[in-house]
Point group: C2
Chain length 407, copies 2
DNA sequence: GGAGTTTGTTTAGGTTCGGCACAAAGTAAG
DNA sequence: CTTACTTTGTGCCGAACCTAAACAAACTCC
């Protein structure tokens, strides 16, 4: 009996109970759905004993605080439950975002709270490695200043990211080559900077959707559709049961080429009237008869126009045209995906704010079922939601298995 | 201490091990992915001891057979593993399908094998209750003749089925009222016929996709997109990680109103050139300049035309037009859903067979990423896949928890 | 201040699964 | 046919994890 086939010899040594529920419990605290130990007990569906052990273990890991002082909480009848909160002195992750305007780095704690951030920086190179090096350098400086433990890094890029390769397929706004290996480049820079933990990369709208689902307007949604436009083109994302629906190779929700205007503008895809070219800031400025400025500022220019000159007939007409196109696109997506909530970002969010009734009416009219027609359409609520989403990406291993991720 | 809050007193009595893996194990045998106990062991990721207990338990439940005779299997080195197979004398489910042509009932065993079926029957009423009564009566007769235990019933209908209400939102081909409570009506008829087990209802294309994923051309696909057209309109379905993606209220993949031809036919939805009116049998007959027959036979008429008169210039031109439109629609869906396999049914399957290269080229050209463009597009392979899918619906509780479902 | 309610804690016990040793059943080679 | 080797099935033990139950603690309400 020398050549043994049994190799799965995972010797576990810890004796505490409540290990398997560790991840779900941390996620509940992380997303604010378990403010007390009593709520944690019911949410996990375990006994008080188990929930107590789980909370104690998470506290021992330095991730959460269990406030067991008498008098810490009160209000209803019975013994007040211990309050649960993210440990503000606990580990952080490095979150980074690259976009047409520039880049930004931040440290994000559990709960999605940004504990340190750089001001927006300007990109000085069109070489992905150099840009990511600058981003990581900023993040490393933040980490040094804070003196906190880092357990991972996440990067948001304005491009579809193919999995499992981790390549950016259309980083057009960055003048990067299509297919740039952003994941590997980012990992490399993170390693070179001596930052610990795994490093991940994702599409900015996907990550924004994830952030909104966990900490913003998407909380509690079962099937959350997110659509946003920043500078050029339109991005989409779907969060199903708390997880990003990335498709089989990370390219799902590439919604830009839905036809929303049969007689519309020609698109580089060969068709015409695509969502991409009909509802982005450039389309808005064009419809309003304004001269577009530099690419990085298209969103700001459009936002200013919408907010300050909405009384102007040409601006209003342009807004209404884009709202109708956007509504048509959203209706198509609602028919295909049947979400229970829709969140809009970037210029789309501004369009929603400008005339919510009109957008909702278009969607209701064009989507087939009254039930679907009444899907709530909301504006995103988080500042820098892509950045927070990048942090979520880095936190995910910890949320999945805190014990394994921290040791 | 009288008013106790702890009420979850689930006293379990069985002593066997391998309970939690019972469902996954049965699913592996059911879908043919665990032909032997050794494979079951590795697929489940448990020890041989546990897998043995699981297999024994499933055999004790009368669901599978474990062939432990020496010499039952051989071929490679080492001790041959016990063969696993569905118990052919085990329980069955009642599967039923209603469509424009008529209806059909069948008994389906584990593994998706149809053990008894009625010939196609003609619908003689436009009252849902009466039709379902006739369907269930046929099924009950099959059950009586077979003398086998029934553990559930499933029904496929040509309509979106809203959840959790179980209402058919657009049963147009059946002349049923929109919003007909098909689930409740079906449950009622099943109960009245004295058939045991829970009863479920689902959309026919959804169920066809489920069947193809488990027993047909979709086996092994991670994200399976299924598109089909029977008589009028187009249906879609998505299977993600082996489960139907139904959206938040069962209405996902309502793909009929994607715009695929900006200058196309007007659609009742108010737009023009929708997939629904551009790629269904009626559109094909119209494009070929043929007079459509009665609604129930549109598919058959189109199929005959495609197969026997493809040399005819008008037929070929019509096929190519529809292929282009279908390709555009599929490309849009591929961009949004990023599936790793596409399966076509009904007339779409015939179009694929007529000119596979053309359809694949259109999809590759119109979908954005080369990677997505190379999505395999296949024809469905199961006879009566909606019927088998209806059976899958009824089997699901057993697959989820065999112990609970059978006792 | 006592009754009632809700939650935390301790203890005991049970279920499930992995590790391990060994037996069983085949193939491969002489 | 025998021996070596490979692979799989089985029985036993213990660890891990959780529930149940009883009790203690901390609040509200009257």
């Amino acid at each position: 009996m020398n050549g043994r086939a049994d190799k799965a010899t995972t010797t576990r040594t810890r004796l505490e109970r409540g290990r398997s529920a560790l991840g779900p419990a941390l996620e509940l605290v992380h997303t604010g759905r378990a403010p007390t130990r009593a709520v944690l007990t019911t949410e996990l569906g375990v006994t008080r004993a188990t929930a107590g052990a789980v909370a104690a273990e998470l506290e021992a890991l330095g991730l959460i605080l269990v406030d067991s002082r008498p008098g810490a909480a009160a209000g209803s009848q019975g013994r007040p439950s211990h309050r649960l909160a993210v440990d503000d002195t606990g580990p952080v992750v490095l979150a980074a975002q690259v976009h047409a305007d520039g880049f930004r780095a931040a440290l994000v704690a559990l709960g999605g709270r940004t504990v340190a951030t750089t001001p927006g920086c300007v990109i000085v190179s069109s070489d992905p490695a150099q840009v990511l090096g600058a981003v990581v350098a900023e993040g490393a400086a933040l980490l040094r200043d804070s003196g906190r433990r880092c357990v991972g890094a996440g990067l948001a890029v304005p491009s579809a990211v193919a999995e499992p390769e981790g390549t950016a397929l259309n980083p057009l706004h960055l003048a990067w080559p299509a297919g740039a290996p952003v994941r590997d480049l980012f990992v490399e820079q993170v390693r070179a900077a001596g930052i610990e933990g795994p490093a991940f990369t994702g599409n900015d709208v996907n990550l924004a959707a994830l952030a909104e689902h966990r900490h913003g307007a998407g909380r509690g949604a079962g099937q959350l559709l997110c659509v946003a436009t920043g500078h050029r083109g339109v991005g989409g994302a779907l969060v199903v049961d708390g997880r990003l629906h990335t498709g089989s190779s990370g390219l799902a929700l590439e919604v830009g080429h839905l036809t929303v205007n049969p007689e519309g503008r020609p698109c580089h895809c060969g068709s015409r009237g695509c969502l991409d070219v009909e509802t982005d800031p450039l389309a808005f400025l064009d419809a309003a008869g304004r001269e577009p400025g530099p690419e990085g500022s298209l969103l700001q220019q459009s936002r200013d126009l919408l907010r300050t000159e909405y009384a102007d007939r040409s601006v209003r007409a342009a807004a209404e045209e884009l709202i109708d196109r956007l509504g048509q696109g959203l209706a198509g997506l609602v028919n295909i995906l049947n979400p229970d909530r829709v969140i809009l970002g970037g210029l789309h969010r501004e369009l929603l704010d400008a005339d919510p009734a009109r957008l909702r009416a278009v969607v209701a009219d064009r989507s087939l079922w009254g039930r679907s027609g009444s899907v709530p359409i909301l504006a995103c609520t988080l500042d820098h939601n892509s950045l927070v989403g990048a942090a979520e990406l880095a936190w995910q291993p910890v949320l999945d298995d805190p014990l394994a991720a921290l040791t």
